[in-house]
Symmetry: C2
Subunit: 307 residues, 2 copies
């Protein structure tokens, strides 16, 4: 379908080029340039399997650049320029020449585990930036229109008396594997798919450290007091704009006092109860998510829980 | 001046009360309620020493609540409600009865090291939220006015056809102690005070992990390739909205290729060169900052750099 690189190419944000208008213009006239199309929040995939992004080249689909509501230069993929394009203005994309035959438009979240890592990362980056553009068309300080600059990585207020620059937004959120002895804490939000249990999470608030956010959220959501808070790993989660920051922590005791507004159910689970659940529809998030990795880490530990 | 608690009180965001309008209303009629006043970006301090925030009670200064451009319920301090109030509309605050005699208004950043920790944390929280309000008076999606809700922790678009909810913003940024053998990497931005060198830092971008941001920023700013990236600690830095995420990392080699646009100077420093600098005005950030703590950590290590 596309002549995009199929093995693992090297992606570089090459941020020093964002202010280089001549370089950006040259990329928009290079037929090898790749496009990451988004229609509203939906990405384009090749065929129905959603195992590959549809990344048309400028040679194949230059009109998408002209039609785009927003255009963001993402960086270079093995030296080829890549632009994210919000193609919502083309109407039903499956009626469009470029997509009609072999494309499917779908939400990224469910496709993430089956995409090659480099495509998942590119798709997350594109989705995060185009969502940010949609929410920052006007200046929050003075209500006048903003205009994209620097390849789409800044929006500047067009009101010369204001002139504020607005930058892309990323919302840090903590997600925590809490253990007590040989059990870990899992819970269900009402919006979760039926049977799914996950580690507890919440947004970091202004004026607090990550560690304070971990302690506060575990107390608020489950009534659990935690200690020995340790960083595990991070993952961008642009649905719409989160950065998940995984932690492990130990509970002071196993008393729970859940907040019913936040969680439908929260409980302690042994490794056996996770591996061989009594509830037939029980499942935990897949390993491509930080939550899945935190739970897998717990399952692999022999000595009581934390690394 | 104020009967605010002077030893270390316990502060609780008590987030479950934010939607409780009756509880918030009762707090605004309780004379013991405390106010954190801000005038533009300036906090009120007791006297000239800037070692204590001026936190008037409602009994002392109820008119500040009425005059406030924005009012945010921060939480409870030993059970007493605390509100941040943007008092910019009162004009020169030193002409105002509440502040005239004993107050000084000043930037928080320089006062941070001399404030009690609980006051520094409260002040950072207040400043971050009031800055956010000032920048989100209008909806970025439709340009119509937004209105504060939930005690000032949400702004909702007043256009019923839009109705977007906007949440406080925190910008994650990495700051990194890079070591190579017995030396660490320090640099100067042009805007730094004369003689100051610090660890290198940069904002996390949409679609990348913290660790990817560390590798990218060190490559972009100093031309240094790093490995063994490990989390150190975090600190809110609301000037205006950052969350500093400290990391340590090791350089693959000691070759530097600095980006002159980002840094005025970057170099490797031994412990001796930091403790007994040849440049007479050389200094590093104080220990209350993550950068100061990263450098102190390096100075205390005997065996070559990283924990």
């Amino acid at each position: 379908m596309s002549d995009a690189p199929s093995s693992s190419p090297r992606f570089d944000r090459a941020t020093h080029l964002r202010k280089n208008l001549d370089a950006l213009d040259a990329m928009l006239h290079d037929e090898r340039t790749l496009i990451v199309p988004l229609h509203r929040t939906l990405h384009a995939f090749v065929g129905d399997a959603r195992t590959e992004l549809h990344l048309p080249t400028l040679a194949e689909a230059a009109e998408l650049i002209d039609a785009a509501a927003e255009l963001v230069w993402l960086g270079e993929l093995d030296g080829r320029a890549v632009f994210a394009a919000d193609v919502t203005p083309i109407g039903n994309p499956l009626n469009h020449r470029v997509f009609a035959r072999h494309s499917r438009f779908d939400e990224l979240m469910t496709a993430l585990p089956s995409l090659p890592t480099w495509q998942a990362e590119l798709a997350c980056y594109a989705r995060a930036l185009l969502f940010w553009h949609a929410r920052h068309q006007y200046c929050g300080a003075c209500a006048q229109p903003t205009r994209a600059r620097d390849g789409g990585h800044v929006r500047k207020c067009t009101n010369s008396a204001c002139g504020l620059e607005h930058f892309p937004r990323t919302d840090p959120a903590i997600i925590v594997l809490v253990t007590h002895g040989d059990r870990c804490l899992l819970g269900r939000q009402r919006v979760f798919p039926r049977g799914m249990y996950s580690t507890l999470a919440g947004f970091v608030e202004p004026g607090e450290t990550l560690e304070e956010a971990v302690v506060r959220e575990m107390r608020e959501e489950a009534g659990v007091l935690v200690k020995n808070v340790r960083y595990f790993k991070s993952q961008p989660w642009p649905f719409p704009a989160s950065l998940m920051l995984g932690f492990v922590a130990e509970a002071e005791n196993d008393v729970l006092a859940p907040d019913d507004d936040e969680l439908e159910h929260v409980a302690w689970f042994t490794r056996d109860e996770i591996a061989s659940p009594t509830r037939p529809d029980f499942f935990v998030p897949p390993k491509y998510s930080v939550s899945g990795q935190l739970i897998a880490h717990f399952m692999e530990e022999k000595n009581g829980g934390v690394p």
